[in-house]
Amino acid sequence: MANQPPQQPPQQQRPQLPQHAIERIQAMRGPQGQRFFTSDLSVKEFLLVRESGFECAGLVMGSSIYHVGYQRGAWTQNQEMQVLTQALYAARELAMARMEEEAQALGADGIIGVRLKVNRHAWGENLLEFMAIGTAVYARDGNHGWRAPSGKPFTSDLTGQDFWMLVKSGYRPVSMVMGNCVYHIAHQGLGGWLKSVGQNVEMPNFTQALYDARELAMERLQYEAQVDGASGVVGADIYEWTHGSWDAHVIEFFAVGTAVLPLPGQEPLPTPQLVMSVDS
């Protein structure tokens, strides 16, 4: 089992943004002192983000449409399908990079509430659209220290509420980190299956495979966090699914979370008060 994280995709050129996107960003930037912002934050999130000392710069997004082909796998082995792993990783990275590009064009210090979506369109078989969308924000006091150690705007999938609570608890978001693994789980062969019909028994083949695949995804997520200079990851979650027309034994495990660094000088959180909602 390869424990090495996959090769980083080759350094992309600064991704070109479509003309319309550039126009919209310019319109939002506006003449000096007259910014027009768009955000998909809810009202509560909007108010909490302001409370944390930030203003909304605008809604930013990036997308890429990938043709995701197939990679043959041996039917008797549990193994990672590395070509597919790389492809899906690269597709998401491209979408995120375009989103970050829009944020930089806005002069933002960070992006909050990032959602990574995968869309399948009826007219495209084997075509997947990867979309990253979030709200770019900037610090009201002009302090660029909120940016990631690399100097780029921070990214995070935290909601406005979670962002406010993270800051209050003494941490700041650095980057949204991902790790993925496309795994083929070996068929047991009909004979092996028939033997276990009617018994409550663990299927060690499958169990082991799922363990391995999840571990790989998480490891890669942690590696990314390290590379970005973070000291921890919050809100890590793992999703699993099969894409479109893949064989049901091929699953992608996708781990995502927000890498964080400590924020010195925060007052401690007040003791929470217990309440009970009377809504049914």
């Binding site: 319309h20 027009f36 768009t38 409370e51 997308s63 890429s64 043709h67 082909g69 659209e129």
Partner: protein, 251 residues
Amino acid sequence: MAFTSDLTIDELLLVEEAGFEPLEFVLGASYFHIGWQGAGWTTNCELTDVTSMMLGARMTAMSRLLAHAEKVGADGVVGMRIEMEREGHNAEFTAYGTAVRRRDGQGAAWRDRHGRPFTCDLSGEDFWGLVRGGFRPLRLSHGVCVYHVAHPGLGKALASLFGGQAFQNVEIPQYTQALYDARETAMERMQRDAADAGGHGLVGVDVREGSHGWQSHVIEFVAVGTAITAITDASHEVHEPPKVVVFAQDG
């Protein structure tokens, strides 16, 4: 004159706390026949007739709701939503909401730049929160783009990139470009709508995409958001930082 409203009791209390009283449950409807617009197979292009009809139908429903609201003396409409129901080639658009009026008689300061009642899709709770935070809603802004995506055949598209290897995992720039254009166009139009109302920003933006059932390769993007601006009244109360609580039950 009795008030009518579709707000919950919580929302009613919060709307009153924000300084408004409910007037009437208002609605506006429009019925449209959705035409068909042809497009060349190999071009990415907007179906401008269909776009303007999908936007126009919504605006018609909304303006009828506004007329109803103005008739009862409203300063704004809270909890507005526009629903669409399709039957074959006909579509019905209905706008619903609760018209409200400022209690201190300063209602004119709350209307949009053209003096019409404000509209927003905010719940009573969000409306109160927004006002308390020093902002006011102006208009539920819309932007629509109905787009036809070129379909020369995937094989050809790939061939033009790499010599036709169907197993390639690779980005397809034409499609990416098409969807970018369509989404951005819808959002740009929504922004313009918001600026026209006098807004300085938009919250709660949602970009919905749907396929047009009877035509393949056609996607409709509808961007909706509430345009807001800061309350400039110096006597307006400034909110305190929120108090942290934990609910004793799930969900």
